[in-house]
């Protein structure tokens, strides 16, 4: 009996010590981790809004540029980033995150559209668990660049904003090149991209915050 009570107290004590140590490490690095995440999103938003940050070396410069050129707002339950011209007055575009299931796990992307909400100006897939070399190629620039300049015409009922066709056979505004060998990733991407766009574009066209 005494042995059992000792075990309980020992476990309790050791839990206390180790969780305290882990919490302390976490507390010390908390701000840094949050800042990293924030930096990543800021760089990404600037990128899809086609605001040139290539000359920016340090994190503080990018943060400064973001402060000047982007205003953070909300669209329903997702964040909306309003891109401004260098003077900080006219809207040059809107960026918003979209996400949905991929083949191995969720895919997250940032999409930017022009101030009239009629055209895509940039797309970046920034978090995914797709197979490297296959579905993982959604992060390659040729794949992301093909979205640029596409007009956002409301598709007829039963149709999608964009469909993926075998690489090299895509024609017209609504068709995009798929990734060879990544059928599942492309199929799922096509589905959630459409669902998300249908939701966001309607809301954004009504609001168009300036």
């Amino acid at each position: 009996m005494k042995e059992r009570i000792r075990s309980v107290f020992f476990m309790f004590g050791i839990c206390l010590v180790f969780t305290a140590a882990v919490s302390a490490v976490n507390k010390i690095n908390e701000d840094r981790i949050r800042l990293n995440e924030q930096m990543r999103i800021q760089g990404l938003v600037l990128n899809v809004l086609q605001i040139d940050s290539s000359g920016m070396g340090s994190d503080t410069e990018i943060a400064g540029l973001f402060q000047k050129r982007v205003r953070t707002s909300t669209l329903g339950n997702r964040p909306l980033y309003v891109g401004l011209d260098p003077k900080g007055q006219t809207v040059v575009g809107y960026a918003f995150p979209i996400s949905g299931p991929g083949f191995w796990g969720p895919i997250e992307a940032m999409i930017a559209v022009d101030p009239q909400v009629s055209r895509i100006i940039g797309v970046a897939f920034y978090r995914h668990n797709e197979t490297p070399g296959l579905g993982g190629r959604i992060t390659e620039s040729w794949f992301q660049k093909q979205f640029q300049g596409r007009t956002l015409e409301t598709p007829p009922p039963g149709k999608r904003y964009f469909t993926f066709k075998a690489q090299g056979t895509a024609k017209g505004n609504a068709e995009l090149d798929a990734i060879t060998g990544a059928t599942e990733t492309t199929r799922r991407l096509e589905t959630f991209l459409d669902e998300e766009l249908k939701q966001v574009i309607v809301k954004l066209s009504q609001q168009k915050p300036s």
Binding site: E3, R6, S7, F10, M11, I14, C15, F18, T19, A21, V22, V25, N26, N29, R32, I33, N36, E37, R40, R127, N129, T131, P132, G133, L134, G181
Partner: protein
């Protein structure tokens, strides 16, 4: 049981009882992270740290830990160190942390650490246990790096992210995917076994 010499601990961890090729432990992460060398290296370093520190701590507490709850205590210790590694990676190497995804957290369930704690650290003093952790971790890291070298070279045509093969090199996509991990580990075990059989014919 007498504590083995540091030299024999190191030799056992890296070669004679290498966790991956001899004991077939830690295979899950060996398959998952070995398609890029940078990720593999960080994973290996994370595991070396977690194993060494866990072994040292388990060993330091070996005389006061009640026998019946020792597994719980070990898991708690291992989990704490792995979480520390995870937090530090997130704070200082966010890109790599992103690429390794859930695998850093999964070091907790890596059988190598538990195996060394239970099989060695529980009955040996702190210093040899610490060295044993480092040796086993290094044995794991070396094997993984070798596998990663082949997979990255053939799959991406690069080493540590630097392109070394000419641009017209046809990438072996299969090398990038998980099945290639199985092929490579199997081939590796085959080669090392044959090597050993040649040097110790009586064992064969």
């Amino acid at each position: 049981m007498a504590t083995p010499s540091i030299r024999s601990i190191v030799r056992k961890g890296i070669w004679e009882e290498n966790p991956v090729i001899r004991q077939i432990l830690g295979i899950c992460s060996a398959l998952a992270v070995t398609n890029l060398m940078t990720n593999t290296l960080i994973m290996g370093l994370g595991l070396i740290f977690a194993t060494a520190m866990s072994c040292a701590t388990v060993s330091a507490l070996r005389k006061v830990t009640p026998d019946r709850i020792r597994m719980m205590v070990q898991v708690l210790i291992i989990a704490s160190y792995v979480m520390i590694v995870d937090i530090v990676l997130k704070a200082y190497l966010p890109k790599i942390s992103e690429a390794l995804g859930p695998y850093v957290g999964l070091i907790i369930t890596n059988c190598i650490i538990m195996g060394r704690c239970e099989g060695f650290a529980r009955t040996n003093p702190v210093w040899p246990s610490f060295v044993d952790g480092i040796a086993s971790g290094t044995g794991y890291a070396i094997v993984l790096l070798m596998i990663a070298t082949v997979r990255e070279l053939l799959g991406f045509g690069s080493i540590f992210g630097f392109g070394v093969l000419p641009a017209h090199w046809t990438r072996w996509t299969i090398m990038v995917m998980a099945p290639a991990g199985f092929f490579m580990i199997a081939t590796f075990i085959w080669i090392t076994r044959s090597m050993e059989n040649r040097t110790n014919p009586q064992k064969a």
